[in-house]
Structures are given as C-alpha cells and as structure tokens.
Symmetry: C2
Subunit: 463 residues, 2 copies
C-alpha cells in the first residue's frame, strides 16, 4: 500500500502546486528559442541552460552538450537499483512566429486565457510544441522527488534544440552518446490525445518517400497547331503515368509496393471502431463526402495504417491567364508515399523511378530529385510497457487509452530504434486544434495539469 | 495567242520593275501599324489610307471604312463584263515588335539583306505577315493594268487592320458588306509555300476548341499525413481523366469525337507522300524520334488531317521549390482540340465537359472556362478554281503545286464560307522560317518577286 499512498500524495501535490508549475513553464516559454533562425542561437543556448539548471534543482545530473547546431541537454536520475531505465525525449526549440500580426497576444509573452467553452488555455509559442509537453514530465519528476525523496524508476532525459529545423545534429549525437542514453524504453512526448477527454498512445507513425520528377520530351516548347499529335506531349505522359499508379479500387499498382504492409490486428481494428470516429464528420469538415483510397477499408484504417501515394504538386505547359496552344518541352510532378510496416523507402523510390522510365518512349527521359525518405515506425503491440502505460493513462483520465496511429512521422522514434535499439512510447497531451506552427498556439491547462499527473502515474507503472 | 502574249508582257514587266515594287512595299512597311496597341491607332489609319491611295492610283474604286476598331479597306475593279469576280483578302496590321533588343535592324526600317546562302531577304516587321504578301497581289494588278489597260478578271479587295488582334470588327463588317463583297472565289494571301521552290495551296485548316477546367475537391488544402488516401486528391482525378482521353493506340476516346472526321482521299495522301517530307527530320529538329499520336498514321497525315487533343497546361498543389506534403483543394488543366472535317466545336466542348463530370465522385465538381471554338475548314478538292490556280503556280515555279494542310486556323476563311458563301483559295509565298511574330521577321525577295508573277498568272487563269 506504500506505493499507492506515495502516488496519491504525488498526485495531490500536483493539484496543489499547479500555479507554480505554470509560472515555471512561462519562464521557459519567454525564451525565444527559435532554432531555424541563426539570430536566435543565444536564445536556444539560454533555453538549454535554463533546463539544465532546473533539472539540477530537482536532483538530476544534468548538462548541456555543444553540437554543431544548438545544444542538447542530457540529464540522469538513476537512483533505484535494479529498476528499469526510461529515456524521456522532448525538444525545447520552437517554430518561428511570423506572421506576427495574426497573434492576438505577443508569442513570447505567454498567458492563460479562458476560451468560449470555459476551458482555460495557455497561449504562446511553444505551449503545446513542445515546451508545455516536456514540462509535464519534468514537473512529474519534481513532484515525485519532492514528495518521496526519489523517483520510482531510473530516468534519463534528452532535450533536443533542433527538432523544428530538421534535427541536423541528432544522428551523430545519438551515435556518440548511445551508451549513455541506453534505456529499457523511451518516452517521447510530442504527440496528442484522441480528444479532450481520451488519452492516447501513438502506436504507429507512417514513413515518407518524397520525389520530384520531370518528364522531358521535345528540346523546346512547340506550337500545338504545328506539332499536335505528332510530337510527344510530356503532360500526356505525366498524367498517364500518374494515373497508372492506381487501379479502379484505389490500390497502388507500383510493383512490390505492398511488400511489408501488415494488416492491423483485429483487436486493434475493433478498438478503433470503438473510438466513435465519424467518417462523415471527418470528411465533412473539409467539404467532402466520399472516402477516396482503397475500397473496403475504413477512413481511420487508411489514414492510420495504410500506405499512400499522393501527387502533391503538378505543373507543366502554360499556366498563366488566358490560353497558349503550346506543347511543352517538359512537365513535372511532386509525389509522396506514406509508408507503413516494413516498407522500404529506398526500394519504393527505386521502384517508382523504374515505373516512370518503363512508360516513356525512347526519345523522352525523366529526371528525379529525391526529397528524403524514412521508414515507418510500428510499435510492438505486445510490449509490456505499452500495457502498463495504457492502464496508467486510463486511471488518470477515466477512459480507455486509444492506441492511435499517426499519418505524419517523428524521425527521433526511428533513430532510437535503429541507433539505441530502444522502442518508444509516444504519449502526449496535445489537441488537434492546438495551432502548433501557427499563430496563437495554445495548450489546454487541463492537458498540462492532467498530463503531469499522467506522467506521475506512468513513472510508477513502469517501475 | 493575245492572252498569252499579254501574260508574257506582264511577267516581263514584273521582272523589270521589281525595284520600284520593293520601294513601294518599304513605304508601307515603315508605317507602324501595330493593331493590338491603341497607341498605334493613327498608324493603322495611316496604313489604310496609304492602301486606298495606292489602289486608287491603279484604277480601283477604293475606300477606307471606319469600324469600332481599325479601318477596313474595300476596293473594286470590275471592268470585265461576264467575267468572274475574285475577292482578295490580306491584312495591313502587324504584330508588336518587342523584344526590340533582339532585332538586328529597327523593325520599321525595312532593308534587303543577303543571307548566308546568298539569297536576298527583306527584313522588317510585316515583310512576310502580311504586308509583303498582300502587295504581291497589288503589284500583279498594277502591272496588268499598266501593261494591258485592264485586269483579266473582276477584282474586289478587302484589307483588314485587326487580324493580329483577334479581328473584333470582322464579323459585323462582313455581315454589313456581304453583298458588296460577294465573289465567285476568295483568294487569301496569308500562308506559305511548301519550301523555297515548291508552291502550295493550303487546302485544309484545322478548327480549335480550347477549354480551361478546374476540379474542386476539399474545401481547403489538406495535409497528406492527416488526410492521405482518405480525402480525394483532385490531381489524381485530373490525371486520371486526362489519361482516359486516349487509348493505347493514341486514339481519342471522347465519345463522338471522330464524328465528321473524313479520311483524306488516296490521291491526296499519295501526293503528300511525294512531297519528300522526312518524319525523322521534322521530329529530329525538336529533339524527338518517335511519332506520338494515332498508330498507323504518318506524321504529315496527323498534323494536316487528323484531329488532336492536347493538354497545353496543367497545374495544381505545391509547385514552388522544395516540398510540401499537401493534398490540394483543386487542380486545373488547359486543354485544346484541333478539329478537322465537320467536327462540331460545340458538340465536342459539351462532350468533354460530360466526360469530365462523369468521372467525378459526387463530392467533387468541375468548373469550365471555354476559350473559344471554331470548326475546321476543308477546301473542296474538286473546285475548278483550285485546279486552275494549281496549274498557274506550277507554270511559275516549275514544280507541282503542293496541296498542303495547316495545323493552325485562319478564321476569315470560315467567315467567308459562312457569311459570304464564298470558298477560299489560300495561296501565299511565306516560308516556315520567316520569323513572323518574332524579331527579324523576313520575306524572301524571291517570294515577293515570283509571288507577284504567280498572281499575275492566277488572275488570268481564273478569268
């Protein structure tokens, strides 16, 4: 019963001390740590130093480590012999704030506002992405330490300062510090809840392959009255190739594309069914009614678990006002694939290039420009830490934890897998409407409060 | 024998007086009659007045007639009782001259240059399109009149001043003056020869239907990580629809598209085969090797006698530098059809819109913007005037007259058919490399000289 008593005491302390936690977060939020703009490098360093100081005050061994970009913060609190070690990840850098005129309040002067529904929200750059989120974990540690003199588990913390600018230093850094960062499980706090009341663990992240390609036909633009039909129109080739990429049922026809695409376990599909997701509302919100994509799959299944092929941009010929009867010399498209399971980004990139080239007449050629590629991340649904964290979250929020998937990608999760051999639990308390990367970014005060309580529970659950 | 003697005398006089003809043409070329720019309206009026004065000096009843745009010139010389009447058409307006810095010589200071091959060329705006061409006819009339006191046939002349700016006044003008312009045959001098040595009559002009259309899907741009596959991507619809427009053999699949498309008579196909046209050279000049379009048709057949469907422009989604994983709200294309035979532009426009709409899911829509439409012109190969003019040209040039087709369109020919019930012979002496509409426009001195002689012959041949 000691353990349960400890937890209750910690949770009560979180409730009591919330105002102080908010004040501390606001101190961090006031530091303009915009990582993408070199002018703000001193601010990034200041934010890293602030975190080191704060973690030391809790009892962590913490330090800021120089990189070719902005510093990394590593902190350790390993004082429970035989207990597992968790590696917590967050990032202290933020997105730029322009257009400044769209902010109702200066972005680096955080404040609490009460929104129409009566909920309290912290508004300011970084409240949700990711300073507010990372501080939920720090405050949970602080409270455990203050109330019980220790943490229930061994904790390593890694705070990055370049997440919003492509993480250029992350790979070499992880390689260099991999022994120091080794842990039984990683906790990544940069994702969201299912809704305001339902906690979630993101269990799958799709990978991404991006390509821009151009089809070249004649050596110059031609007049369609002179050359129509006889000369190859690269737009025809482009549209025909892109059209060939899907069959009538929405399946991608690229050979080998579905290699490594797993079916979602029935149990999980059933759980998704129980989330009360409305396809009609999801599509209706953006003016659509009919689900695109593969026939026989639900919208949720498609956006969470299926690979996709999308044309993100297309251009060729005359696109200005009016009309010009031109047969252009070239036409281009930007395409991307979202990957799942063990789909191989390199293989898919290559297969697509072959797919295009095979469809060109011998007097035309295609040039390709890769826009990066990363494989998908799929959490092992049988991980014991997943079950424990799910239960802890359910106890805090009073609702089953949703195991959700994400369309986007969080590269650090793949890097932890590959370089540290460590699986990640993606647990966060953001909401879809937090306006991250946009003016008036906010974080629900309730997310901050119950997020801190959630981590307090999870720290014990994983012990 | 009188007739033949007369012709010989006229032809000799053309040879003798060529320098004077060139001087007169240069006077007309110096008038900056750019029709599309309102600042040059007085120059257009000046060119019309110059022509009226010149035609009067030959003995024509000539006048300049005001229109809402630039004036029309009508002139009559009807002094051969019982003889047929020809209506000659040319235009005195010219294209703008920018970019001025690409001209080797000021565009309105015409001069004769000797090109690398030793040929003499008149260089300046309007030399080929169309002042140099129309003056070949005027000089032929002048010489007949000077040498014999009359013309062999009744001649009406119509000079337009808005051909290069869309001919806005032409239809109402033709309607108002249709009785005065009535003729047995029209002679339109705004086309070219087959090559430097081979005269040609353009016997077919393709029509044109132009359309811009946009496919609208979601109410705003979407993130492909969030909505990929589930939300309809209008670029996929667009590429699929455009791709559907052709089958594997290059045939257009639009229902009813080939209604009214005639097969070229074997005799004409054979004549085309004899022209020595090289597909390899034609395509090779623009860096291509493989003929596109319908299988089993020659390139010449395709560009002269077959209808086409081309995408002239396509755009949608993110087209800037780098990458944005967007699913755009809309995507657009500009398309055009070249029509032949009796293909109906309105029917094809409508069929295409139906074709697009039938392929849209019910939550998407398409909007269309028509860019005008005109039917094809097909000369009746059995016209007696065609045979007579062909023979006259052959006698002048020493080579069989090529009956060629044109990819482009000359609207006046259709209007003569429709409003005046008059068929046209399109006879001109331009070359493909005359750089019309471009800097350093030129006209072969030989085209001017033997063009004048050609008309001298044709005037008699049609009498």
């Amino acid at each position: 019963m000691k353990k349960d008593n400890n937890l209750k005491q910690v949770l009560d302390a979180v409730d009591t001390n919330l105002d102080a936690y908010v004040d501390r977060l606001f101190d961090l939020l006031r530091i303009e740590s915009i990582s993408t703009d070199p002018a703000y490098a001193p601010k990034c360093k200041q934010a890293a130093d602030w975190l080191v100081k704060d973690l030391k005050s809790i009892g962590f061994k913490a330090r800021s480590i120089k990189t070719p970009g902005h510093p990394m913060v590593i902190a350790h609190h390993h004082k429970v012999k035989g207990a597992p070690t968790v590696l917590f990840y967050g990032h202290y850098d933020v997105q730029p704030v322009d257009p400044l005129n769209l902010w109702d309040n200066p972005p680096f002067e955080p404040k609490i506002v009460t929104c129409k529904g009566g909920r309290k929200q912290m508004v300011g750059r970084g409240t949700s992405d990711d300073k507010g989120q990372l501080m939920t974990f720090v405050e949970a540690c602080r409270t455990w330490k203050a109330e019980t003199g220790n943490l229930p588990i061994n904790v390593t913390i890694l705070f990055e300062g370049e997440e919003e600018s492509g993480s250029p230093s992350l790979i070499p850094f992880l390689k260099e510090y991999k022994d120091e960062l080794k842990a039984d499980i990683a906790l990544v706090c940069d994702t969201g809840m299912w809704d305001l009341k339902t906690p979630a663990i993101s269990s799958a992240l799709r990978g991404l392959v991006g390509l821009e390609f151009t089809i070249h036909a004649a050596s110059r633009d031609l007049h369609s009255g002179m050359y129509g039909s006889a000369a190859r129109n690269p737009i025809h080739l482009l549209t025909s190739i892109l059209s060939d990429m899907r069959d009538a049922n929405g399946k991608i026809t690229l050979p080998g594309f579905y290699d490594g695409v797993p079916e979602v376990p029935k149990k999980i599909l059933k759980q998704w069914d129980g989330l009360g997701f409305s396809e009609k509302a999801f599509l209706g919100e953006v003016g659509l009614k009919v689900s695109a994509g593969e026939k026989g799959r639900s919208v949720l299944e498609m956006i969470w678990s299926r690979p996709t092929f999308e044309v993100n941009g297309i251009y060729g010929g005359y696109t200005g006002d009016g009309f010009k009867t031109v047969i252009p010399a070239q036409a281009s498209a930007k395409v991307s694939f979202r990957l799942v399971g063990t789909q191989d980004p390199k293989k898919i990139n290559k297969a697509f290039q072959t797919f295009v080239k095979e469809r060109l007449p011998k007097d035309c050629k295609a040039t390709f420009h890769a826009e990066g590629g990363s494989g998908a991340i799929q959490l092992d649904y049988s991980l014991p830490e997943l079950a424990k964290a799910s239960t802890a979250l359910k106890e805090e929020w009073g609702k089953d934890t949703a195991l959700i998937a994400m369309g986007g990608s969080i590269p650090v999760v793949g890097l932890f897998q590959r370089l540290l051999k460590t699986e990640s639990l993606l647990i966060g308390f953001a909401q879809d409407d937090d306006r991250i990367h946009s003016p008036n970014e906010k974080y629900e005060l309730n997310s901050f409060h119950k997020g801190t309580r959630s981590w307090a529970r999870i720290l014990q659950a994983l012990a």
